[in-house]
Symmetry: C2
Subunit: 360 residues, 2 copies
């Protein structure tokens, strides 16, 4: 979910407080990869990684372990289905997984000896899983987070971008950003993920990558209200642009080490575009503006079990703004919060938008 | 159309070569406004300005002259229709114009004594009109260009942004950017245009505003190809993001005085979003990708007399890249050119997108 929420809910250190870790001096002879998570996005990245380890066999163990939360689908275990039919019929139906992607229901077994951990699962499951992973992983393991804000005690890079899972799985061209602390480790992760249709750029700013990845879901709620009210692209583009400036200001205010130019990477402007035109926060907010105004009900009826991240994020973000007494400098975030939480009318986002010109 | 084309076709100085003009020392007692042009956008801004001069009567003559190229609509002169029914039935039907907007068919009469000239018409008409305007205008007139790249011998500001005319006319919230050389004059123009639903920000970078306004139509062709090929928002957001970087690089290469941060204004990222999702360049390029591959025919059948700006712009821009021998540093612009002009397959924009990672 977010840097902020994982930290506060789970008691972990925020990523920004993890001490910088240098690239490992002694690299493993062969890297062993474990993908922790097997939903839509986890299965998609396991597919990419499996294709790459097959191709790069001298550097990587070709088999990729994918930890799967076991469930029964049509009377059969999901791990068995994946390992025999090479398809995650529940979360990524219709897409063939490479046969070297091995579904493993036992977490300790999946993570055993892993030198590269790829986290792709809802953040709320982490606290329960991390101790097991810590024990099983290789002592010099590195990690890449496709969620946000976690600490495992090993060097973490953060991979984010304009990545709708189904489109990535289909092999459509797209980009992503890796925010890193250790460049050497990030380059290893880039090797593991990169394909001609999946281009990665390395940026030494994991915090910026996380901030934009977190707040874009909030801005997408604003974009959804605009859609639900029937406004056109002028208005939506204006809200998105103001949102970009408040994301930058949020970074300056709370994480001054953030790099401003990260906004021009895939994890910034491109992910914002994708999320504000196609994402589930936008979709639910569009319906919210039309009514009924009940997030729980909309989440249950529209998302088929997926979570609406923007709403819990804006609650947490607004508390940070209040605690630091800077609400007035974030008029758009404040408006979105009040529409989501305080029965403020969605129309206010348009009526009050002219107040969003805070002084620079 | 563009800074570049007006200059080369009409022999005018580019805006960037117009000497900076200081704010006028002696302001006119009362400013007299002439809107040159009465199409969709010209009529929309005449409506805004008319509402404002009515409200700001001590500073502005309340009547706003709008030069209208005379034509007969349903047996009646268009100027007569506008002046009696207060509606431009041909170019902005269904929207009431304030009664103080006066349609004038004679250009010299419309511009007579004008202290503020607002240019909102296709650039190709300018060369014929400018001498008449030069003679009729007040000697200390200032101008604001809603087109691009013109020189009238007076101080010019440039107004651009995510402004689909019909949405602005409807009073939907939107933003725009004024790029200026003289801040005092730009503030006067801001006063003339601004409304609660039409927010303007002043930026001392008229060149940047023009570059983004010009090149966004080219990037929108790329976005249209992606749409026509059936790709989703990942791919489209990636092309738009690469496009932003090549727009910035174009500025650095040809107009080093450009300010990079202008990309974060309405004339930059927001206008790019609007144009790549809603604009006519995108629309025609989508159809082009599906076939037939004939721009003239698409323009004639899809735009109802409006012009397709992106195609002529990329021809001109590509010539600039060739002349300076920097084509290799602009792989996306080069791809779009070759798809438009050299029978390169639209699919190449996706196949070759990974080559668009030029070194920084």
């Amino acid at each position: 979910m977010s840097l902020l929420q994982v930290c506060s809910h789970a008691g972990h250190l925020p990523l920004s407080q993890v001490a910088a870790v240098q690239g490992r001096v002694v690299l493993a002879d062969v890297e062993r990869v474990c993908v922790v998570g097997s939903g839509n996005w986890g299965s998609t990245v396991a597919r990419i990684i499996g294709q790459n380890t097959e191709r790069l066999g001298d550097r990587f163990d070709r088999s990729v372990k994918m930890w799967v939360y076991e469930e029964i689908v049509d009377g059969q275990k999901l791990t068995e289905i994946i390992n025999t039919r090479h398809e995650n019929v529940k979360y990524l139906p219709g897409v063939e997984l490479p046969s070297n992607v091995i579904a493993v229901p036992d977490l300790a077994q999946a993570a055993s000896g892993a030198t590269i951990l790829v986290f792709a699962l809802p953040h709320q499951f982490l606290p329960k899983l991390l101790p097991t992973i810590q024990q099983a992983r290789s002592s010099n393991a590195i990690a890449v987070s496709l969620i946000k804000g976690m600490a495992t005690g090993c060097d973490i890079s953060v991979l984010m971008g304009a990545n709708v899972a189904d489109e990535v799985a289909r092999g459509d061209f797209c980009e992503a950003t890796i925010g890193y602390r250790s460049k050497g480790n990030a380059e290893l992760i880039k090797t593991l993920f990169e394909q001609p249709t999946f281009q990665l750029r390395l940026i030494p700013d994991p915090v910026g990558v996380e901030i934009f990845g977190t707040l874009k879901n909030v801005i997408a709620l604003g974009a959804g209200f605009v859609d639900g009210l029937g406004y056109g692209t002028n208005t939506k583009a204006a809200i998105m642009r103001i949102g970009m400036h408040e994301m930058l200001r949020f970074g300056e205010t709370f994480f001054p080490e953030m790099m401003k130019d990260t906004i021009l990477e895939s994890c910034g402007v491109a992910d914002l575009i994708t999320t504000c035109f196609g994402g589930r926060n936008r979709k639910c907010a569009e319906q919210f503006a039309r009514g009924p105004r009940d997030w729980k009900q909309l989440e249950a009826s529209m998302l088929g079990g997926q979570k609406l991240q923007g709403v819990s994020t804006i609650e947490h973000v607004h508390k940070m703004l209040r605690d630091k007494q800077v609400v007035g400098r974030f008029p758009l975030l404040d408006l979105i919060y009040r529409i989501c939480m305080c029965a403020c009318e969605p129309e206010e986002i348009v009526r009050s938008a002219s107040t969003c010109y805070v002084a620079d």
